[in-house]
């Protein structure tokens, strides 16, 4: 049985070691905010933070994640939706269907943690998540609002 540190809590995860982290989080830990979109690390809907880095959890086997690594999911980004990215997203009504937005928000939060005042080029490079509803311009505006630029 693997152990994972998820949102500050140690979780027992009873899965085959090859199981993608995404499915361990969704089906074992019960955190369904992290989404499946493609399974091949192409869309970013499954983005979580591992030690602050944005990671596409659909393509990361559980066996590759140690207990010393801190996993943060959308549910753990803040206690009360108070992360600056969440607040900006609410203020600008960024989501449409919302399905990709957990991944968008996690990608944006990771970007801002490293690059507090990102340029448009920084945003383009970091934000490669797919949104079929087409919220990209509001995502960009949301990142800038969260960054105070």
């Amino acid at each position: 049985m693997a152990k994972l540190m998820v949102n500050g809590v140690v979780r027992d995860v009873d899965v085959h070691p090859d199981t993608p982290l995404l499915w361990a989080l969704r089906e074992q830990v019960g955190l369904t905010g992290t989404k499946y979109g493609c399974g091949v690390a192409a869309c970013g809907a499954c983005t979580v933070h591992i030690d602050g880095e944005p990671v596409r959890s659909c393509s990361m086997p559980v066996s590759a994640v140690g207990l010393n690594q801190k996993i943060v999911t959308i549910e753990g980004l803040s206690q009360d939706s108070s992360h600056p990215v969440q607040k900006a997203w609410l203020a600008l009504d960024v989501p449409q269907c919302g399905y990709c937005q957990s991944g968008m928000i996690m990608s944006a939060a990771a970007l801002l943690a490293k690059t507090p005042k990102p340029t448009d080029a920084d945003i383009d490079a970091a934000m490669t998540n797919i949104c079929r509803c087409g919220t990209y311009n509001r995502v960009r505006a949301g990142i800038k609002q969260a960054a105070g630029i």
Binding site: H16, T32, G33, Y36, G37, T73, D93, C97
Partner: protein, 722 residues
């Protein structure tokens, strides 16, 4: 505006007794309890709780397009309630059936959610307001006309008394509904017409929003599924024993004659086992069909004798034959998958007594009908619970995945089973945007005037595949969206003295469906790109060339002029940047776009900016209309630049986003939206603008490079400069 309520409209008020908890139909009580439907119900659309919370019932589905918030704004406007106290709930399709379709149509497609229901939901809000005021007046022993209402507070100024909707709702529910209501003039709106925040955002920011993919029920198992990848093929057999001992596997089932599923404790276990399952297919008659075969079929249609007429004026062929100059071009548009971010899914629980389904659907009643049929139970023993959709775009108007879930659940009685499609299954088992080609022939006189135009569309009919009874003597009227002689679904914007638009129906074996924008997408590309080709041949500016043909279509022209002004058409573009225009009418709305594009020496296309304009008649939430315009451009540009589903050996080649890429943030242009509702009609919003992005960009590319891209997607044309 005074509308007498006819008998059918009174239907929804006739059940107002439900507010007192006295449903006439036992099933409704059961269903309401099962769903925890809010009480008390003033009428079918409005529930007001004792704490003044206003629960507005929304029959249409929310899939990102903002319809939920817009419909609530319309009800709340007439209700004159406090918007900050508004929440919402979905009535279930089963309740709709049990209550004589009190909420009418649940279908959410064709950009009809608001425009088709705005009147009766506003009447529902107005009727509830009248009943609430009457209840307060009765309590005070005064005429209702002496009362005033503001934000859910009813006052009698003369006596200084006041009460709230929440306090009188239970009494209001007992009153007879009004026989007629007066709707507000939209000029007086304070809730509708405003850019209010969506009602469904908060849970989408923290992982709490439960989509169908996320549903968990006690004792639930998970199903992974595979249908024959060749359309028209069948399931011959599978070797369940080979995977029976794999972790978590509980069952391996034939779902229908072309589909197998693995049921396991977790979905990941089911998927791994399914991938290992030996399956034998009978690939059927199309096992060797490829895109080249389908292209040949359509090419033949371009010159075929027989074709269905969509729009005919004068004698186009004769006019073209006698014209000073003849222009001819052939365009093509591929199959495309909706590729909703959330793949298809449904959860079902079947017992000998009941069948319940939880699913994202654009059409709750269709899903319900499918569940009834698949379950073998009478309607009264079936219920469908709708969940928010992780995208729809037309795909979730179909109920194939609902039927599959019920077929699985029937073989696992008493156990809830969640069926999730993989992305690969979603790409392989689509209901694809129709494939078409179009040959356009135009004749110009010696002054460069368009004297004749023939558009021959060859290709797939959606109705023939989806709803053959909708064909008119074999003709599919939907093919001619935007090209019609008249009507809400797209009158042709140009007056041409001799015009023939006809369709040679050629239906390949690939299943077809409604896809955001439907046939307006390719029709706008065909017409609007060819207009630029004609303008070039005539030596006339593309805007001016169009203006000459639009004297009789001022609403079409108005949105075109708006984007031309917005982009600065009368001034030169910045160095290295080129412009293109387009306009069309469809889904009840007039739309236009002007794009600024550059093309690098490496052939790389960069769309810098698009100015969009729409006249949808009325705008219920400007911020959400702008979001729909931007979003439609992402969907439309993704399709135009990159997306094609190609066919090899009878099946779809592209299996995931790596070979079927949408545009991402780095390719997203700036979008400026000009909303010019003229208040004279109600048009759609979610779809119409999608159609104008691609032709505007294509026209700009032609201006930039001199190369005219006529085959979509654009990625197949090399724009590299030698």
């Amino acid at each position: 505006m005074i509308q007498a309520l006819d008998v059918s409209r009174r239907g929804f008020i006739a059940t107002a007794g439900a507010a007192a908890g006295v449903f006439s139909l036992g099933f409704s009580v059961h269903a309401a309890k099962a769903q925890g439907m809010a009480r008390p119900e003033v009428n079918a659309w409005v529930v007001i709780k004792p704490d003044d919370t206003v629960v507005i019932r929304v029959a249409r589905s929310e899939m990102g397009q903002g319809t939920l918030t817009g419909l609530c704004q319309l009800v709340a406007e007439e209700l004159q309630c406090d918007w900050s106290k508004v929440t919402w709930e979905y009535p279930t399709p089963g309740q709709n059936v049990a209550r004589n379709r009190v909420w009418k149509n649940f279908s959410t497609g064709g950009s009809r959610g608001i425009r088709e229901s705005e009147q009766y939901v506003r009447e529902g809000g107005a009727a509830a307001r009248i009943m609430l005021v009457q209840a307060a007046a009765n309590g005070w022993g005064i005429p209702a006309s002496d009362c005033q209402v503001s934000k859910g507070v009813i006052s009698h100024h003369a006596s200084g008394r006041s009460t709230t909707y929440g306090k009188v709702a239970a009494e209001a529910a007992k009153l007879a509904p009004p026989t007629q209501v007066t709707l507000k003039n939209p000029k007086d709106w304070t809730i509708a017409g405003k850019s209010l925040a969506r009602l469904d955002t908060v849970d989408k920011l923290n992982g709490k929003q439960i989509y169908g993919f996320d549903l968990t029920l006690p004792g639930m198992l998970n199903a992974a599924i595979k249908a024959c990848p060749v359309f028209g093929g069948k399931l011959t057999g599978f070797d369940a024993a080979r995977i029976a001992s794999m972790p978590g596997v509980k069952n391996v089932l034939k779902v229908d004659d072309r589909t197998v599923a693995v049921i396991a404790d977790s979905w990941w276990q089911a998927k791994v086992a399914l991938d290992a399952l030996p399956i034998v297919w009978d690939e059927g008659p199309h096992a060797k069909t490829s895109s080249a075969d389908i292209d040949a079929m359509l090419n033949e249609g371009l010159v075929a004798e027989q074709a269905y007429e969509g729009n005919k004026v004068g004698d186009a062929k004769a006019a073209i034959a006698g014209a000073a100059k003849k222009v001819e071009a052939t365009y093509s548009y591929p199959f495309q998958n909706h590729a909703c971010m959330e793949p298809m899914n449904a959860t079902a629980l079947w017992t000998a007594d009941k069948c319940e389904v939880w699913c994202p659907t654009q059409n709750g009643e269709a899903a319900f009908g499918a569940a009834v049929q698949a379950s073998g139970h009478p309607a009264a023993k079936v219920e469908v619970y709708k969940l928010h959709l992780g995208g729809g775009f037309g795909r979730r108007g179909r109920s194939d995945y609902v039927i599959q879930a019920v077929n699985i659940a029937k073989q696992m009685p008493g156990i809830p089973v969640k069926l999730l499609w993989s992305r690969e299954e979603d790409m392989a088992q689509g209901t694809y945007h129709p494939i078409t080609m179009c040959k356009l022939t135009g004749g110009l006189d010696s002054q460069g005037n368009l004297v004749g135009l023939h558009m021959r569309i060859s290709g797939q009919s959606i109705l023939a595949g989806v709803n053959p009874q909708g064909l008119q003597n074999g003709r599919d009227p939907v093919v001619f969206q935007g090209l019609n002689p008249g009507g809400a679904e797209g009158p042709f914007g140009y007056t041409v003295p001799n015009l023939l638009i006809d369709h040679a129906m050629r239906n390949p074996h690939v299943p077809v469906g409604f896809w955001r924008g439907v046939n307006l997408n390719q029709n706008a590309i065909y017409v609007e790109c060819f207009m630029d080709e004609l303008a070039q041949a005539a030596g006339v500016d593309p805007l001016e060339f169009r203006r000459r043909l639009m004297k009789n279509t001022p609403k079409h022209l108005a949105v075109l002029e708006a984007v031309a002004k917005g982009i600065g058409w009368d001034k030169p573009a910045p160095a290295g940047i080129f412009r293109g225009l387009s306009q069309i009418m469809g889904f009840g709305s007039y739309v236009a776009a002007a794009a600024e594009v550059s093309v690098g020496s490496d052939g790389k296309i960069k769309v810098h900016r698009i100015v969009a304009s729409t006249n949808p008649g009325h705008v219920v939430n400007p911020s959400q209309v702008e979001a729909q315009i931007e979003g439609s451009f992402v969907y439309g540009l993704s399709a135009a630049l990159y997306q094609a589903c190609t066919v090899k050996d009878g099946r779809i080649v592209e299996q995931n986003f790596d070979t079927y890429p949408p545009i991402r943030m780095d390719e997203m242009p700036k979008v400026e939206s000009i909303l010019i509702p003229d208040g004279t009609f109600w048009g759609g919003v979610g779809e119409p603008t999608i159609a104008v992005a691609a032709p505007a960009v294509l026209n700009a590319i032609a201006a930039a490079t001199g190369k005219r891209i006529r085959n979509l997607p654009m990625k197949n044309t090399d724009l590299k400069r030698a």
